[in-house]
């Protein structure tokens, strides 16, 4: 009985997010049909959203375990810096249209591999060394940022091969940016891993009670390291998208995403204590936040992009309060 209520509650957070998303979407469409419902607006949303969305997915993998990953953006930057340096070193200057394609593909693979390594480093720190996740990733954030700074001397890397820009620029059928497809694909894969595989189920179980997981024959170390590895790979993917869009790499790009990712994940119904959450919730949170900020922009309420911060922060507080009252009601009903 109480669990059915619990289920409804989890779903209700998703319902709230969906309602907010569509409500705001419809509101904007009615208020500003001319500006909001334009292809350009839709496209710009689809272009802005993926890098943040993928960082949020990366954060989610750590938080399902009851941990946190403060190094995601640093991983994204480090991996794209190393990849950029590789591409800059091996690309052919003044080359024809597709001559550098091979270098670009190699560069992307390198970025993903660096992301994986960074993730494994975090995972080992948490699982094997036993450092609390917050500390481990705070230190590794500093280490990854430090490596990036040493590699670039703090400068931004430019002059990447033209082909690299294709990731950020290409569209499907000339309308849908390829990067939103990448984001949705990443979300689908994350969903399948979390809800349809034994590995994903083990992540939830370890997040719920690590000791009981050990006593049930789960290899906690493996599960934790894999989760942080996935988090690292996703982070480097976000880094690739970010560098491709700006055609440059720098150690302090997108730092704001670090904390915003936590915000989106919590908004999406993931419990900071671990063991609870769904990809659907996180995706809806990311979409809602995007529609909210684009809408504000169009309504000219957003003179600077920072009004977004204000609204997002308030949004999070409101959702926290709604959950709180839902919980209290439930508790009162139970006793």
């Amino acid at each position: 009985m109480s669990l059915k209520k619990g289920k409804i509650k989890n779903n209700s957070q998703l319902c709230i997010l969906i309602a907010i998303f569509f409500g705001f979407f419809v509101l904007m469409s009615v208020l500003m049909p001319g500006t909001f419902l334009r292809l350009g607006t839709m496209q710009s949303m689809m272009v802005q959203l993926p890098e943040f969305g993928i960082y949020a997915l990366a954060m989610m993998f750590a938080m399902i375990l009851g941990g946190i990953d403060l190094s995601i953006v640093s991983i994204g930057n480090l991996s794209s810096i190393i990849a950029s340096q590789f591409m800059l070193r091996y690309m052919i200057a003044n080359a024809g249209e597709t001559e550098n394609l091979r270098v670009v593909v190699q560069g992307i693979c390198i970025a993903l591999a660096v992301g994986a390594l960074c993730g494994i480093f975090n995972g080992v720190s948490v699982a094997v060394v036993g450092i609390p996740p917050m500390l481990a990733t705070l230190a590794s954030m500093s280490i990854f940022n430090g490596i990036s700074t040493v590699l670039t001397k703090g400068a931004s890397l430019q002059g990447l091969p033209e082909e690299y820009a294709l990731i950020g620029k290409s569209t499907l059928f000339g309308i849908i940016p390829i990067i939103i497809v990448i984001f949705l694909l990443a979300a689908c894969i994350a969903y399948v891993i979390q809800k349809r595989t034994k590995l994903g189920m083990k992540m939830f179980l370890v997040g719920s009670n690590a000791r009981a997981a050990q006593f049930s024959g789960i290899n906690n170390h493996f599960v934790i390291i894999t989760a942080y590895l996935l988090s690292g790979v996703l982070s480097s993917l976000a880094g690739i998208i970010m560098t491709s869009r700006s055609m440059s790499a720098k150690m302090d790009y997108g730092l704001i995403y670090q904390l915003q990712a936590i915000l989106a994940v919590v908004l999406g119904g993931v419990s900071p204590k671990g063991g609870i959450g769904s990809v659907g919730g996180v995706v809806m949170a990311v979409l809602s936040l995007q529609v909210l900020s684009t809408g504000l922009n169009i309504l000219n309420l957003a003179s600077t992009s920072y009004v977004k911060n204000l609204i997002w922060g308030l949004f999070l507080v409101v959702v926290l309060l709604m959950n709180y009252y839902a919980d209290t009601k439930k508790r009162k009903g139970k006793i």
Binding site: L3, K198, M201, N209, R211, F215, G217, I218, G275
Partner: protein, 501 residues
């Protein structure tokens, strides 16, 4: 102080939560200088009653009198002011603070201190320790102390200012026998100085040993009370459960040709146990008992691969195996129901289904590790039915179950791997007597079907009811092997106690 007049008198106390009656018509009288024992199954209203006495809950009806004066509205602060102190199971100590601070903190709060005078704090703490007649290092942080010492700190704190009634909620759960004796000495000393004690416990032997008066509750009502000398053990169990306990022993189908499933030879683990050898056959239930700290849990953990053994060998059906991890134990068909259900056995925030399926994820997933929700559900429903787990759905969180049903979920998850050897460590601790009978019957029937079962327990009657053989452990060694048929319950009890150095 006149011992005839009561310190607290409760008359016709009733309390309900959202329509569910937790207490009804409770009359209770606490007289100065008496030791009371409050008994009852889980959920019988014991803790509600304690909370009413200590002012945490206000009763819906009935009256409370303190020293013959009617108290209209009792609050926790008022209770403390009147000398009513509760020591909870977790002792409410601060692991990061020193012993002195932990002991003085209550007094400081009642005296509404604003500034901290370290000299005063140490003086107060020393005074409280002197009252109990014990010594503890005042400037040590509590996290470095043993559980027993933490409890002494909680008691010292409670009596640091003038306590008149001390309520102790299951104070002996985590103590060794010797520590229990030390605790009882302290309690008797306090009692002699005129402090009343309410002692909540499940352990019959302790109750018989310590208390003068007994109060038994069932379903929110007081069903019996009186002087302890008027009750036998059987009476107490009868009043608590409302039925007589079936105390037939297992006996078990012992044929001479039964195969030996598990055999250990001279296994040793540093700090855990030394030179342990024994074997167990099909259909056999072997009990391992001994005092807390005798190495019984270390042995069970080692057989399940949680901590490695340093020397010796383990044979499974005649073949030598290495148990380096839980997974290797599980793949060899060894299952383990751990001592602490909540922290080691269950995923409270997860559905019952996942709690059961956790051990067989490899079996019910396909080659690339994909799972079907339907296969988890089928598995869960099967076990919910087999073990009579009381729940309306397999999707309910483990959190929502009662202690006994939670334990059944833990057992189900291990039966799902169809183990050859099942190790149960204190399977009925904190489980009410109804569910206890269920679990004991289940264990026996599993053995009849051929499973080898190792039952680690300090509950003598449980061991006597279940086991064919009993291994007695002491300071890490097996000191004696006894056939259940050759010993009686009191004799076994005496043997365990005789191990006390």
């Amino acid at each position: 102080m006149n011992t005839d007049s009561s310190f607290i008198k409760l008359t016709n106390i009733g309390k309900s939560f959202a329509g569910v009656v937790a207490l009804k018509g409770i009359d209770l009288e606490i007289r100065p200088g008496k030791i009371y024992c409050l008994m009852g199954e889980n959920g019988c209203g014991k803790s509600t009653l304690i909370k009413i006495i200590s002012g945490v809950y206000a009763p819906d009806q009935g009256k409370i009198e303190l020293d013959g004066k009617l108290v209209k509205h009792m609050t926790p602060k008022e209770a403390i002011k009147n000398g009513i102190e509760v020591i909870y199971q977790d002792f409410s100590v601060f692991p990061n603070l020193t012993v002195a601070e932990n002991i003085s903190v209550n007094t400081e709060i009642t005296q509404k201190r604003k500034a901290v005078n370290w000299k005063r704090i140490y003086r107060q703490a020393q005074l409280a320790l002197d009252k109990l007649g014990i010594t503890l290092p005042l400037d040590e942080t509590v996290e470095r102390l043993s559980v027993a010492n933490r409890q002494l700190i909680a008691i010292s704190r409670a009596i640091a200012h003038d306590a008149r009634l001390l309520i102790m909620d299951e104070p002996t759960t985590a103590l060794t026998k010797r520590e229990v004796d030390a605790l009882f000495a302290v309690v008797k000393r306090l009692n002699a100085s005129g402090i009343s004690i309410i002692f909540v416990s499940h352990k019959l032997d302790e109750v018989m040993q310590l208390s003068q008066e007994i109060v038994i509750m069932r379903n929110g009502e007081k069903v019996a009370d009186g002087s302890i000398s008027d009750f036998t053990k059987e009476d107490i169990i009868y009043h608590m459960t409302g039925r007589r306990l079936d105390s037939t022993s297992y006996g078990g189908p012992q044929s001479a040709g039964a195969k030996t499933t598990l055999e250990v030879k001279h296994i040793t683990q540093k700090g855990g146990f030394t030179d342990v050898s024994f074997g167990i056959k099909e259909c056999e239930i072997v009990g391992i008992t001994g005092l807390l700290g005798s190495g019984r849990t270390a042995l069970a953990n080692a057989l399940f691969g949680i901590h490695k053994i340093d020397s010796g060998e383990i044979l499974l059906e005649g073949k030598k195996v290495k148990l380096g991890s839980v997974r290797s134990a599980v793949s060899n068909g060894i299952a383990y129901v751990p001592e602490d259900r909540l922290t080691e056995g269950l995923f409270l925030s997860q559905p019952i289904g996942k709690n059961i399926a956790v051990t067989v994820l490899d079996k019910i997933s396909n080659r690339i590790g994909m799972l079907k929700a339907s296969s988890i559900k089928a598995l869960a429903l099967q076990w919910i039915e087999t073990l009579h787990i009381k729940t309306s759905s397999d999707e309910l969180l483990a959190h929502s179950l009662s202690g006994g049903n939670q334990q059944k979920v833990v057992i189900a998850k291990w039966l799902a791997i169809e183990p050859k050897v099942l190790i149960l460590n204190g399977p009925t601790v904190g489980v009410d007597i109804g569910a206890k009978t269920d679990i004991i019957e289940m264990v026996k029937s599993l053995a009849r079907q051929g499973m080898s079962i190792i039952l680690v327990s300090d509950d003598v009657s449980e061991i006597m009811m279940c086991c064919n053989r009993i291994l007695l452990m002491r300071s890490g060694r097996i000191t004696e092997e006894i056939l259940t048929d050759h010993i009686t319950e009191p004799e076994l009890y005496a043997k365990i106690r005789a191990q006390e150095v």
